[in-house]
Symmetry: C2
């Protein structure tokens, strides 16, 4: 049962006077629960609690943190069908997707639990004293990673579970030892509230300090702004639009104490299709990409919005085939009427241009909030001259850019903003002839894919989900995988500190049995 209240630490609270409801895009009507937006007092109370809780939580053992994270996973699974139904009612996404995303969310929590239970992630490094060194004795210096402080996490519209309340940002921040305040996404406040209840249950069961987690409802931008401006908040995680992410980045940069904002934002995920691959298997590529473009109604940050090729008969045939394939796919529901509105408006901006050739645009009637997919084509020169064509059309849409030659293809890639992914479709022996193209692509993206599709982000250690701005606000970190814990920690040195007062990770006896770097060797 969802009450529509906020969680201020372990307590449900609804003192604000602004209320809202979520929307069922499939049924095209509002859901029943009334949510109360957090008031300024509730926001500040949540941050104060998070700051107090941090004092205790930052030094809780890895074993205890793992217990907490695993219990969150258990409690999420215990919500069972209630969660799946709530998820579907607030997103228009099918049950299979809901269950898959729940699996991923639970998997992320458990992988962070394993990481901190094992303990080596703190990168313990010890340089022993050399009291007889000349000309000066050397001190004993020991380093490890420690948490930053209270972290604010913004729920993402397109991943109500995996990138929201108990998603990757929250799991990584809790694993790091940071307390977390979630700004719940208004489109799936019910899903968020259920997951929040699971986290609070887990916090109580495992004896975590009150305030280690709070969940705040909001219908607009004010709650988020208040949170990011609060001096006790020490870092921010965000997944969403460039406009939203940039606004938070700017706000954080203006603080008396600027804080890190990791925002994973827009990406059109360029796909370079090389000539021989096109010649040999354009039909197959067209089919694969029609599927990738429309997967999840095109609402993935890794959606392939830009297909780049060199003019040829094969490329023309590919455009025709892709357009046919995509018209054959049944339209599906978008997350919210506002998302569909945005999709239509952004698509219209492109298809209405004279210089754009619209090769597919699903015009038959569709159900409410279902998206009408489209494919368009422009030439390389046009793309280079019109920056508006670089903007993301969030939804089942892709643009083919037909370049004159390899040089223009390289120019088009160089002109792109930073991206999460870049893909190369190639015959194996072909790609070595396009080294400048590949180098240019690598310079604009965080992950490069050979003969695949960018959709589908494997959660593993070697995954990078991030990239040059505006794919993310800090390309030095990934939003996915256990390395994403690095966003919420800082290195800390102890010099000549008494052994028994050091954290266990750095004591001589290595009581935790973790991997450590001792005097330069592991």
């Amino acid at each position: 049962m969802t009450t529509g209240k906020n969680y201020i630490g372990n307590l449900e609270s609804a003192k604000g006077n602004k209320t809202f409801k979520t929307y069922n895009p499939e049924l095209n009507k509002e859901n029943e629960t009334v949510f109360t937006e957090a008031s300024i007092e509730e926001i500040n109370k949540a941050v104060d609690l998070a700051s107090e809780a941090f004092k205790e939580f930052r030094i809780i053992s890895g074993t205890k943190k793992a217990e907490f994270l695993n219990t969150i996973a258990d409690e999420i699974l215990a919500l069972d069908d209630e969660l799946i139904q709530m998820y579907c009612s607030e997103t228009g996404l099918p049950e299979g997707r809901a269950k898959g995303e729940r699996g991923r969310t639970v998997g992320q929590l458990r992988s962070f639990a394993n990481l901190v239970a094992e303990g080596s992630w703190v990168e313990a490094t010890i340089d022993a004293a050399q009291p007889n060194r000349e000309p000066m004795p050397k001190s004993d210096i020991r380093k490890m990673l420690i948490p930053l402080g209270p972290v604010v996490v913004f729920g993402a519209s397109n991943f109500p579970l995996a990138y929201s309340t108990a998603g990757g940002d929250t799991a990584a921040a809790l694993a790091a030892g940071c307390s977390v305040i979630v700004k719940s996404h208004p489109m799936h406040a019910g899903t968020g509230a259920l997951v929040a209840s699971a986290i609070v249950k887990a916090a109580k069961k495992t004896g975590m300090p009150n305030g280690v987690f709070s969940n705040l409802n909001s219908s607009g931008i004010e709650v988020g702004q208040q949170l990011v401006s609060n001096p006790k908040v020490k870092a921010v995680g965000f997944t969403g639009s460039i406009r939203g992410g940039r606004a938070l980045l700017d706000l954080a940069a203006k603080r008396a104490e600027p804080i890190p904002v990791f925002a994973e934002m827009g990406s059109i995920n360029p796909v370079v299709i090389l000539p021989k691959a096109l010649e040999n298997r354009q039909a197959e590529i067209a089919k694969t990409y029609a599927g990738s473009i429309t997967l999840g109604t095109g609402q993935f940050c890794t959606n392939p919005g830009l297909l780049l090729g060199i003019k040829s008969d094969a490329l023309s045939t590919f455009v025709n085939n892709l357009s046919q394939e995509i018209m054959d796919i049944n339209p599906s529901c978008m997350l919210h009427p506002n998302i569909k509105k945005g999709y239509n408006a952004n698509k219209e901006k492109v298809v209405s241009q004279d210089y754009v050739r619209v090769t597919a645009n699903y015009e038959s009637d569709v159900e409410n909030n279902y998206a009408q997919q489209a494919v368009v084509s422009v030439d390389g020169k046009t793309f280079l001259e019109n920056a508006t064509l670089h903007l993301e059309v969030f939804g089942p849409f892709s643009m083919v850019v037909q370049c004159e030659d390899t040089d223009e293809l390289e120019q088009v890639i160089v002109s792109l903003e930073g991206q999460l992914t870049g893909t190369v479709i190639s015959d194996e022996n072909e790609v070595s002839n396009y080294q400048a193209v590949i180098a240019a692509l690598q310079n604009r993206v965080g992950r490069i894919i050979f003969n695949g599709v960018p959709t589908g982000v494997e959660v593993c250690e070697s995954m990078v989900h991030g990239g040059p701005y505006p794919a993310s606000t800090d390309s030095r970190f990934s939003a996915v995988g256990i390395a994403s814990i690095k966003r919420w920690v800082r290195p800390f040195s102890y010099q000549d500190w008494p052994n028994h007062l050091l954290p266990a990770e750095l004591q001589n006896e290595n009581p935790l049995g973790i991997k450590r770097n001792m005097n330069g060797t592991l």
Copy 2:
């Protein structure tokens, strides 16, 4: 011989019309060489070259980069006495310090050379494909660290060698594979030019691309602003004042593409002296700290500017002893008349307050540009009520804060801005009674020291030189030690990439023989 020109890549150039000279603070007169500030055209040319050079330099092998770095070190040593004399003539610092700092600079270059020659620093991580995994096959994903792009490095006034032209920032950025443009510090443009000539010689000898390094003269803030605003610049390193660092941070944050700025800025390095330690050895502590406060004329970023204790007879005696000890030390020369002017003005702001007790203020005549050291004392309440007392007085100055009790001591620490270091002077059994104090201190600093002095930064793997803002602009990185290379790199993933086209670090055969994380184990 120094010509006073800029290095735009490998070429000397002086097209600007603004000139300046450096100053010998010991002799109190200008040095002879006329330096020409870089013009807008020269600035842009340097960045264009750096951007071009990056294309080649980013993939140069670790062995070649190591050769370059080691050759820079050799060429710096080959400058021999000319460099030492130039250094002394532009800083007023003694020859011993010049040679020590040169040793450190050369040592840093060689330690980065060793790091990249060995090669494991790229954190190569491989997750093998699982083509038969259910429900979906798993791709082969491989990750490593790659360089960000051209980096701008600002020379520091107080470390003409170790934190300037070929200092830690430059060495780390070149080791990472980034091209570097140095904005030379106007106070030691001659030292900078000599070191730049050594870097250019090394670049030519080892066949590095033209533009991998440039050195730009400047007398004001314009050159730096132009550099940070240039879209081709991808990161910034700075060591200096809070005002200067914050201005660059703000400028970088306002760019269409915001870029990371790592600025190591102000710090007053609080030292907590616990009661029993004071009782048992206040005289010895006073002597040690008089030395630490005046070391290098107090011009270290780790200078102990704040001594915190709990009111007692022993603390009063300590203040008297420290004051006497510091008055017995011979005044020494500051780096520049402007630095001395700043010192006097900032010191005056403090000593002129009614609520400040001045216990030592060297008032005898001193030579030009020599600093008159001082010690003052305030009570905890006063310190808490007057934020102006938290400001750094850059020079041989320290403030003793006498707190009523442990609670007030903790409050004082909590009220502090972020710091590079915190020190605890304690009898070994005493410190465990002050856990809240220690925790508060840890939360404000990057390195914590037991019974030592904060001055003297060991260059080793476990060193953290950085800390919460404003000690640095991003506490997640260190400015010293080989881990400082992390500031200039980002993780990058290859998905299903053909083995022979992967960088050597990620190929199946591990041709470089580096340490790699394979499917979760090292």
